[in-house]
Subunit: 194 residues, 2 copies
DNA sequence: CTTAGCTCGTACGGGAATATACGAGTTAAC
DNA sequence: GTTAACTCGTATATTCCCGTACGAGCTAAG
């Protein structure tokens, strides 16, 4: 399932550059053109079409690549021990990943069949969900709200922080602190726990 | 500054129908076409162009109208008394407003000059900010995070909840409860207050 | 060195959406 | 009832982007 007819080395290189360019441009502007991406990759538009039959497949490839990168980073994080501390570690690495490809996600939403994005995006969401669940068991996190919402809400906070940073309304250096403080607050058990 | 040459009654009516249709369609799909909006308003496309020279002005008119409606609703809310309770009242009314025009905001972001949206959107943000500030003064809300971020984060939670509801991942009836619980959590002073 | 694969320019066709031009018919306002 | 304003269809120009076709030239792989 790797390669049916072998690919030449230069083709491999072109594909890598195209995907990288797509990630970068689509990460900033979900409406980035195929022309722009090809140009940014230092490659003719026709070369791009030689590897990706249409826009959707290119976007999907970029998203898959970005997610794979993310998985590599996140899977290296130790989530054992105190859930709150583990959460901080997870968020510290997550936020920049979200920042880099938040509009890539938006681009994918527009082009890919419904549900496909969510499917591809399953692993990181599951990781956070698992951590939250564990924290709920130990009483570190609140359990009175649906866990699906807690996961989503955390995401929205991450995405929001990324957007504020990109708009220049937030200093990039201050973002990690704000994100962790906010998500911790969101997950902390309410005062009137009974 | 109201009307330089008087407008006929039927024109007034057409404009109202167009703006209403624009709010409804753009509120659901930020890419709604001028054709679609005209059709939904029960009006020829040429009539629409007679009143709005281009897409941007139509979008802006729709946004202004939606915000004016929102202002009318929000300004009726009593924000005196216990800040936490006032926050609940404010959020209960805010969330549906956000839900109805969240993608209208997105449409505006794409078409209007940068900063214009934020400028138009100033009043509701200021209202929430003022409430938060008051709550900080009385110790009801946390003061260790920048107030601008607290306001934005609340917004992102509202928008996120609206999105989840539209995607069918959240029951509309449960949204107000989740939103208020989440924003309260976000604003509650941290445990290790010193 | 030969071949198959890859690069990439130019050109073309198509679709979708915006916006303009013209003009005939209709309707509110006075 | 006259006028000015409004409605609205058809047609057309423009722009933008996607995707295809053709073909000449390069380059990695054996």
């Amino acid at each position: 399932m790797t390669t049916r007819t072998r690919r030449r080395a230069d083709a491999e290189r072109s594909i890598a550059r195209i995907v990288a360019a797509a990630r970068e441009l689509l990460g900033r502007d979900p409406a980035a053109t195929i022309d722009e991406i090809a140009a940014a990759a230092g490659v003719g538009r026709m070369t791009l079409y030689g590897h990706f039959p249409n826009r959707a497949e290119l976007v999907e490839a970029a998203l898959v690549d970005a997610l794979a990168d993310g998985e590599r980073t996140l899977s290296a994080i130790d989530l054992a021990g105190d859930p709150a501390a583990a959460l901080d570690r997870l968020l510290a690495s997550s936020w920049s990943l979200v920042a880099e490809s938040s509009s890539l996600l938006a681009a994918a939403q527009e082009v890919l069949p419904p549900g496909r994005v969510r499917q591809l995006h399953g692993a990181p969401a599951a990781r956070l969900e698992e951590l939250i669940r564990r924290g709920q068991g130990s009483g570190a996190f609140r359990a009175d709200l649906p866990i699906g919402w807690l996961v989503s809400a955390s995401h929205y906070l991450l995405k929001g922080a990324a957007e504020e940073a990109r708009a220049g309304r937030l200093d990039a250096a201050s973002v990690p602190g704000l994100v962790t403080a906010s998500v911790r607050a969101l997950l902390r058990p309410p005062a009137d726990a009974r």
